[in-house]
């Protein structure tokens, strides 16, 4: 029974520690969100202009495009760099696993 009580007290203490930040957050008011807008007036390049325009119109579309572009570009650049590294003649398939 004493063990059970101790366990209960520990659980309460743990939940208090975890919930304290959110309780403190709930106590305060939210600040006004800051809106950042890309200035498209001085962008001459068509592609850049379209890109900045998309950012201004929808951050969601912009985020989705980023999520697609980064991994795809990472894979493409990875393959290209790998191709050139293979041309050096180094064995890129094996390595010795040793700490010392």
């Amino acid at each position: 029974m004493t063990k059970l009580r101790r366990l209960g007290a520990s659980a309460c203490a743990l939940s208090l520690a975890l919930l304290a930040p959110s309780l403190a957050m709930a106590a305060g008011g939210r600040g006004a969100p800051i809106a950042i807008v890309a200035d498209t007036r001085f962008i001459d390049n068509g592609l850049m202009h379209w890109w900045a325009q998309m950012y201004n119109e929808s951050h969601l579309a912009f985020a989705l495009m980023t999520m697609v572009i980064i991994p795809v570009l990472g894979c493409v650049l990875g393959f290209v760099a790998d191709f050139f590294m293979k041309m050096t003649g180094i064995d890129l398939g094996k390595r010795e696993l040793a700490e010392k």
Partner: protein, 353 residues
């Protein structure tokens, strides 16, 4: 020399674009070699190049995801990635980071955040450096003891064997990470990643700096596997971070793309260098990099504690980071070139015979 500058479409700042490629190259080399995202190098670097801090963090996250993906691909081909371990660790990391982020908001409300975070960072980096060099000394002591008995220490043996002791705790379900050669309780990687994720969330960093040594010393992973597996995790968490920051409008994708060009070359150099450097070589250079990072955080702390000398300490902190990145990247490149030369010479000799 106008062609060396490029207007960033979102943030509207004029950036010296070769600087982005050089920064990408440096962080690619270091990240690929140590298994780090390298936010502690890139964010101040981008800030120095002229990006506002809000854009520097988001842009760093985006390039970190791409760069870590490139490094993971190469490490994967070497057999340095345990994907199952990476996925299990990811669960604990995400939950831990969320708890850490909530705690940081709480600290922000009581007005102690900067001070607490910086001092925690200092303590943590000191502990990591102590563990790394303590482990090196212990391994040497084991070698000396073995030599006296005319024996040899196993090539995969570490100085500190905390990993083995923690693996011996048999709390079901047990799990076998074949690539890493680790058989342990499922709760071990969960608890370790929860702890490292919580620390990363509080410190506002990606967590590679903490996770890589945690994989080595607490999970018992061989160093090369820890580097590759950590990068796999950094790639996924970096993509999540990039999505989050981009949705908030804080990413300059064009800059991230330019950095990726340099990072793709750097990542190859860094990862291939691990082929020629043994585990303890990586650990020692990592320990030195941690000490360099520790000095930079201490200098920034001094800048905030002594306002009259803020300029001097901030400049010294910047010089420290730049020197650290340059020297480490040069050393890793040197080891890669030397190793490749020796391998090619051996191949040539074998073909001649």
């Amino acid at each position: 020399m106008d062609w060396l500058y490029m207007m960033m479409p979102i943030s509207g700042v004029n950036i010296f674009w070769p600087g982005l490629i050089i920064l990408g190259l440096g962080v690619g080399i270091i990240g690929g070699f140590f298994g780090l995202g390298g936010a502690w190098m890139v964010t101040p670097g981008l800030n120095i190049l002229g990006f506002p801090m809000a854009f520097a963090i988001g842009t760093d996250m985006a390039q970190m995801a791409g760069k870590s993906l490139i490094s993971t691909m190469r490490h994967g081909k070497f057999g340095n990635v345990d994907y199952l371990l990476g996925i299990v660790m990811l669960v604990g990391t995400i939950v831990g980071m969320e708890i850490g982020a909530q705690m940081i908001m709480w600290l922000e409300r009581i007005g102690q955040v900067d001070r607490v975070v910086r001092w925690m960072y200092v303590v943590l980096l000191t502990i990591i450096a102590w563990i790394v060099f303590g482990d090196v000394a212990k391994r040497r002591a084991k070698e000396r003891a073995a030599r006296e008995k005319n024996q040899e220490v196993d090539k995969l043996e570490s100085g500190f064997d905390w990993g083995k002791k923690l693996q011996a705790i048999r709390v079901p379900p047990m799990i076998h990470f074949k690539h890493a050669g680790v058989y342990c309780s499922f709760w071990l990687p969960i608890c370790v990643s929860l702890f490292t994720g919580w620390l990363a969330g509080i410190l506002g960093i990606g967590g590679g700096l903490i996770r890589m040594p945690a994989l080595v010393y607490l999970i018992g992973c061989p160093t090369h596997l820890a580097v590759g597996t950590d990068l796999f995790e950094v790639a996924i968490s970096g993509l999540y971070g990039a999505a989050s920051f981009t949705y908030k409008g804080r990413t300059e994708l064009l800059a991230a793309v330019i950095m990726l060009v340099g990072a793709s070359i750097g990542a190859q150099i860094g990862v291939v260098a691990t082929k020629y450097v043994k585990g303890y070589g990586i650990r020692i250079v990592f320990g030195l990099a941690v000490i360099g990072c520790l000095f930079s955080v201490l200098l920034r702390q001094l800048a905030s504690e002594v306002p009259s000398m803020r300029g001097l300490f901030t400049t010294l902190a910047t010089i420290d980071v730049l020197a650290l990145v340059s020297l480490t990247a040069i050393y890793i490149t040197y080891r890669m070139v030397k190793g490749a030369q020796a391998e090619l010479a051996a191949k040539k000799q074998a073909a001649g015979n």
